[in-house]
């Protein structure tokens, strides 16, 4: 048995060895994990971490969904001043889709990430996640990234996780 699919909704990828571009389907996935404890210092802006991913299809063929959780702890200055961007702040900047989960205690708190980026070409891209206060005051979203038993003896080593999905699009102009 076979199925016929219209060329209006499926095209062959230009990259050899990759599957066809099917709108709405996940075309490629990148997994990232980091379980190393680190500390942050208060500033008007700063970087919590960076990671990289390869985009396999062209800007008009697919978009990127970034999902992540970043455990954090030990700060009373919870606030929505996270920011994240791809390939530098002027390329694909976004301050949205980042949620602070009460990092005021030594519990498994932190940052929840749920973002989408469009118009990105093929190749290696760098994702940066950090913070910047709107009013220029010195602050920090949390003091410890990936807290462990050195913060509280009951704590296991926690880790940052990113799942980066590349999803096919049919008509990028409609986004």
């Amino acid at each position: 048995m076979s199925t016929r699919i219209s060329v209006d909704t499926i095209t062959q990828a230009s990259n050899t060895g990759l599957g066809p571009i099917i709108p709405g389907q996940v075309l490629y996935t990148t997994f990232r994990e980091n379980a190393t404890r680190s500390t942050l210092s208060a500033s008007t802006n700063g970087t919590v971490g960076t990671t990289t991913f390869n985009k396999m299809y062209g800007a008009s063929d697919s978009y990127i969904i970034i999902k992540g959780i970043v455990p954090g702890a030990n700060n009373n200055n919870t606030g929505s001043f996270f920011k994240a961007y791809v390939d530098g702040e002027t390329s694909f900047a976004s301050t949205y889709g980042l949620m602070d989960i009460e990092a005021s205690q030594v519990h498994s708190n932190g940052l929840a990430i749920h973002q989408a980026y469009y118009g990105m070409g093929t190749g290696l891209h760098t994702y940066t996640y950090g913070w910047e206060t709107r009013d220029g005051t010195s602050n920090v979203p949390f003091n410890v990234v990936n807290p462990n038993s050195s913060d509280d003896a009951r704590n296991q080593q926690t880790g940052t996780v990113f799942i980066i999905y590349e999803v096919g699009i049919n008509n990028p102009n409609s986004i």
Partner: protein, 163 residues
């Protein structure tokens, strides 16, 4: 106009997938649990488990993406884990950790490589690193017995992705 796609390109066998499927979601599952659970204050405690039938052998990665409602966080600490067939990964961030008699929630995002095909038992719970009795939250999936306004449930999405 249309193009013809052969069966061996668009279908997946039980153990392998064609090269063109690399990076694709090859199988998915949804687990929903609306049963209220009173957690234990033991150093290690399993809250609930379920089974997932893994299709792609060790060539697929399993992604677990979940939101778990909770209640009465009580300001204690014990790391949440996802256990698959006896191996734990510590994951999860929790909102509103000081919510004595209040709502809380736990967000999970984790991935697993190298799991064989077949029935995999997935367990969610907590475990303290120093073996002290503790619990980060008292209730999972709170309902009207906790607060007349509540109606909650856990939703866990599972994606199996070809490598």
């Amino acid at each position: 106009m249309s193009i013809f796609i052969a069966d061996n390109v668009q279908s997946r066998t039980s153990s392998t997938a064609p090269p063109s499927m690399v990076g694709h979601i090859t199988n998915s599952g949804v687990f929903i649990n609306r049963t209220r659970i009173v957690t234990s204050a033991a150093a290690s405690s399993n809250y609930f488990n379920f089974t997932y039938s893994k299709q792609g052998g060790t060539s697929t990665t399993l992604v677990i993406d979940a939101v778990i409602p909770a209640y009465n966080a009580d300001n204690d600490l014990a790391a949440y884990f996802i256990d698959i067939d006896g191996t734990k990964k510590y994951t999860g961030i929790q909102a509103n950790c000081n919510a004595t008699n209040g709502s809380s929630s736990i967000q999970i995002l984790q991935f697993w490589t190298g799991l064989a095909s077949g029935s995999r038992t997935i367990t969610f719970g907590h475990n303290t690193a120093n073996a002290t009795s503790n619990r980060p939250v008292n209730i999972i999936n709170p309902n009207t017995s906790d607060d007349g306004r509540f109606s909650t449930g856990t939703v866990i999405l599972i994606h199996e992705i070809q490598q």
